[in-house]
Symmetry: D3
Subunit: 126 residues, 6 copies
């Protein structure tokens, strides 16, 4: 995964599948720019046990993203704000929450929830 | 799922996948009419945590379907009859079987099997 | 699932597995009170295609639960409050959020986030 | 799987799991007689990449099984009859159906359904 | 699976999925030559419970394959050699290793490792 | 996962499951020393959305492990040697192989295979 992301893959994931002759297996899916196709193909063929790669072109709808900062009782947390037409979603950055949780010795969920609450207040106060 | 089906999706299913950074995840797949594309996209972006949707056009071969009714010792059951060229498959309607099973306090499989048996006799007697 | 829960199961879930002879399968797991063992066993044997059931006794640690109500800009939402020693977690009730989201024609996540924000304020104001 | 079943395992199955460091994996589950424990353990340690095996004792409820033969328009098919208290389930033998389907060049499901129908008549005529 | 491979499928695999109404299911994926499309479609519709098939055209990058034989302390083993540009991978044939392992009553992994070692010497000695 | 391993868990893994009401879910399994039970329980209840933990005592058979070093054309690689009765398995350390692969700009599998080959020769030469 690390090498594929370094080579320009947008995203990488595994799906458990079941192959013939009772063999459990894992399907590797890689999303990437068509320009990175050759590099990603060679990486997959060289580094995994597969002997073939299949390609498909997909269209995508991607939300615009920017970052905002909110103050929680435990410190500042960045929010990833994703927008698409009139849709807006705010998600606290996991790493920020984890860092504050470690610092204050409290559960990560407490920080996450506080950041969400702060995001809600921000929306109302804007 | 409910909202997607209400918004015109033909079918909706989840696939368990494994994402980077040790995150287990679920891939949401939605089959729908190209005309419903915008509505389904906005629904997915608004109601789930994803920030992107990918599209692909698929061809389909679909069996023709109609319904027949068979008599079982427990009451009438509808059969979904699916045909394609010379292929014909008859499947007892789950909800009918479940209702008769509850009414007679017997296992659903008993009703289902009786309906399948009746379907077989119907085929022979036609 | 419906029948098992009605017969006293605490929880029911499916796990995808792979059996011999290339057969994909699903493992049915049922958690229940030992007193319901016979009823649950007979239900599973009667209603599924399995011919055997395996049992195991598990210990459990369960959080205490009670409910609180918070006010959001969209209406009242119940929170499930789970406690264990000094751990406390508040989770907005999914059904309440879904109902308000439908009523106001807004995303469920917006209501959910508002309920979490209200829960955070409740905690601070107590 | 073949070796484990030959060494006395009652059943063997795989479950897809996700391990640390982004490694997809497969859990091997083996059900066997306690007397075969050492043999099965050594087989697993020798033939797979695992370095450890975990054991658990399970109770089991198993249906009694015997076989009956029914006549279908395509030939004789064995039924596996499983009973437990007042529960009785009849399942056409897959291999018999597959063989008749190949012989008559018809779908396996047609034979299977005919065997179920014959099983139903058997039950009524007994 | 057997029938699909006999009818010209390149590969066949199952993916566990979760459908609506709490139904666990399995997605059947078949890779095949476009010329075999009608035959594979009819086989799937006739032999499974599905009422529809979806198609997609994929491009493929496939490694060239040839076989080499290496001598191990346990006997000769075929290696599948896969090449693509400057990438070369050698994989001992599973069936050869299994046969020698049975013959010498040793773990399959021992034979496999010996074949890999012999493959490495072959590469260095060429 | 990171926190559980830091708190004394031997191993941690996820299994995809399907819960009631069409909810896909993930089962978290943690293997640990009974002495770490309270700490692991509180960590799980505090940091995840679950409200309950179930326990089971398992016996284990674990292979003895030590390390050996082999020389490959690309540099030294540590082998993990696992033994149990007369069973011995040698596995090249992933991190060593990855480091040499990066240093020589070659596929990780080439280094891994070279280490396996060297392990085989070591065994013969001892």
């Amino acid at each position: 995964m690390t090498q594929l992301l370094a080579a320009g893959a947008y995203d990488v994931y595994f799906t458990p599948i079941q192959m013939k002759k009772d063999r459990p297996a894992v399907k590797l899916s890689v999303l990437g720019n068509p320009l990175a196709k050759t590099a990603l193909t060679k990486l997959i063929l060289a580094e995994t046990s597969t002997i073939g790669v299949r390609y498909q072109t997909w269209q995508r709808a991607i939300m615009q993203r920017h970052f905002e900062t909110v103050q929680t009782p435990y410190g500042a947390v960045q929010l990833k704000v994703a927008t698409y037409d009139d849709i807006e979603k705010k998600t606290p950055e996991f790493d920020d929450c984890a860092q504050l949780a470690r610092k204050h010795q409290i559960p990560l969920m407490t920080v996450y929830q506080a950041a969400l609450a702060a995001a809600g207040q921000l929306a109302k106060g804007e």
